[in-house]
């Protein structure tokens, strides 16, 4: 996962995170965004369902 051809810190002159220059950062960003939306959807559904239990 080292983002430079040569696995050496002396080769690092900029971004040094995992997957830099590859698809991992984009995929991780997409997954993070999907998680945020999905959790909100699930949260809304379950809260609504629980709230309905208190309807008179």
């Amino acid at each position: 996962m080292f983002p430079y051809d040569e696995a050496s810190w002396s080769a690092v002159d900029g971004a040094m995170f995992m997957g830099w220059g590859g698809s991992l950062p984009g995929i991780a960003t997409l997954i993070a965004a999907v998680i945020c939306v999905a959790v909100l959807v699930i949260g809304q559904r379950s809260e609504t369902a629980k709230a309905k239990a208190f309807d008179k």
Binding site: M1, F2, E6, A7, S8, W9, S10, A11, V12, M16, F17, M18, G19, W20, L24, P25, A28, T29, I31, A32, I35, C36, V39, I42, G43
Partner: protein, 471 residues
């Protein structure tokens, strides 16, 4: 010609002065940098104090606080007396030979980390040494953090002196050995296995968490925690808001904790004259920490909220988020840190329930949050960070991060926590120094241990959570 030479000499003198000034500025920056991490890390202890007292029942609130305050107080002198020496003495293992970096081994430790003889010049005020004190201070606060982690797990039934003995063994010895082995450029886990644990997920959190587990096995559950059929009862603390705010304070303090894991330029142990490094000499920026810590906190909270909706577990999830990514906060991509932290938030409560179903009464979930998630974080870095040089240098010259190496590190951290915790607490149990007497536990530890009342206006009418749910 002479005039030009004089001008040139003046210019050289000016440049030399500027260069010297830069070095002084760097030294003062490094000194200030570490100094500021100390009060920030004390906020962790303010947080643990609030968190533990909130998680205690009314009858135990002050005794939980006293225990936590004393752990902090005893950690500092014992770390001064021998913890600091252990860190420098044994990175290469036993018997404490010198390592290749020239900053380890018993002989080196004897020369800089003892409070007597020639070495004492580095253990007290010294106009020629701006760094030793602040570096010591930051490490002493790491030590105190380990004690606080264990402290929460054992509330409401442990004896004060027995607890302090355990805290000293953990904070001034067990985790220090882990740090020497896995958090030092000469540490054998680093040089032989490529272990990388930048933010101490394993060597602080997992060691402390599993030390607590060893203690809990001998200490036993609080009266009323488990029914005859083995099912568990929830024993609510007296003040959930205090606990939640305490957890948030711990998050604040962790910015200082992780800042103290960075080696700035300008001090005797600096790797570079002009940039930050990790303790392994690999590059890092504070921006890396800002990105990844914040994303990890968010991921942990969201993951915990999804399953629990409980503010206690949500804020524990924030901690779990940081701990699960701590090993690689220097090199994770922020969105990846978020995803890993989210997964830690998801597994947090099920892991705590699993432990509880095996008869372990961990009052605040410390074994899971710090122990289990700490090891999870160490291993996650092995999965995602394989191939990174573990130390300053190039692969081949220095070891690289690998899944096997991180698993070995995780196993060592587990043992360095669990074994001393279990053995010392067993000895204390045999000596009658571990658990408070049953009558005192039922009456409330504040009545026995503290000549003050947490909420005096409530007097005898205070609503008391029963020691046993059946009462």
């Amino acid at each position: 010609m002479e005039e030009q030479l004089a001008e040139l000499a003046a210019k050289v003198a000016e440049l030399e002065a500027a260069s010297g000034g830069g070095a002084v500025t760097n030294t003062m920056f490094a000194e200030t940098f570490y100094y500021l991490t100390i009060p920030l890390m004390i906020i962790i202890h303010a947080g643990f104090l609030a968190y533990e007292m909130g998680a205690s029942r009314l009858k135990n609130v002050l005794s939980s606080g006293v225990k936590n305050i004393l752990a902090f107080a005893f950690m500092i002198p014992t770390f001064y007396l021998f913890g600091w020496w252990v860190y420098f003495g044994f990175p290469t293992g036993i018997p404490g030979a010198a390592g290749p970096m020239g900053i380890s081994g018993v002989e080196y430790a004897n020369s800089i980390a003892l409070g007597w003889g020639e070495s004492a010049q580095y253990m007290g005020p010294n106009i020629a040494d701006n760094i030793s004190g602040v570096f010591f201070g930051a490490f002493a606060l790491f030590a105190a953090t380990t004690a606080s982690i264990m402290s929460g797990a054992v509330i409401e039934r442990i004896q004060t002196v027995g607890f302090i003995i355990l805290a000293v063994v953990l904070g001034s010895f067990a985790w220090v050995v882990a740090a020497a082995w896995g958090w030092h450029a000469d540490g054998w886990l680093v040089t032989q296995w490529g272990v990388h644990d930048f933010g101490a997920a394993g060597l602080v959190h997992a060691v402390a968490g599993f030390f607590a587990l060893g203690v809990l096995i001998n200490l036993g559950p609080r009266i009323g925690k488990f029914n005859a059929d083995g099912t568990a009862n929830h024993i609510p603390g007296h003040n959930m808001p205090l606990t939640v705010v305490g957890l948030m304070l711990i998050i604040v303090g962790f910015f200082g904790f992780l800042m103290a894991c960075v080696v700035p330029p300008g001090e005797a142990w600096s790797w570079f004259p002009d940039k930050f490094a990790t303790i392994y000499g690999t590059p890092i920026t504070l921006s890396s920490l800002a990105f990844n810590i914040l994303m990890a906190v968010a991921g942990g909270v969201i993951g915990s909220w999804l399953f629990t909706r409980d503010p206690f577990w949500m804020m524990s999830g924030a901690l779990a988020g940081i701990i699960s990514t701590a090993s690689g906060l220097d090199i994770y991509f922020p969105a990846l840190a978020f995803v890993i932290a989210f997964s830690a938030g998801l597994i947090l409560k099920p892991c705590a329930d699993w432990l509880e179903n095996r008869g372990i009464d961990d009052a605040v979930g410390a074994v899971t949050v710090h122990g289990t998630i700490g090891l999870y974080g160490v291993i996650m870095l092995g999965i995602w960070g394989s191939g990174y040089p573990s130390l300053q240098g190039a692969a081949g010259e220095v070891p690289t991060i690998s899944l096997i190496g991180q698993i070995v590190g995780a196993a060592v951290f587990f043992l360095l926590g669990f074994v001393p915790g279990y053995v010392v607490s067993l000895i204390l149990k045999m000596a009658g120094m571990l658990r408070i007497r049953e009558g005192a536990e039922l009456a409330g530890m504040d009545l026995v241990k503290v000549p003050a009342a947490g909420y005096p206006e409530w007097g005898g009418d205070a609503p008391v959570t029963p020691a046993h749910p059946a009462e």
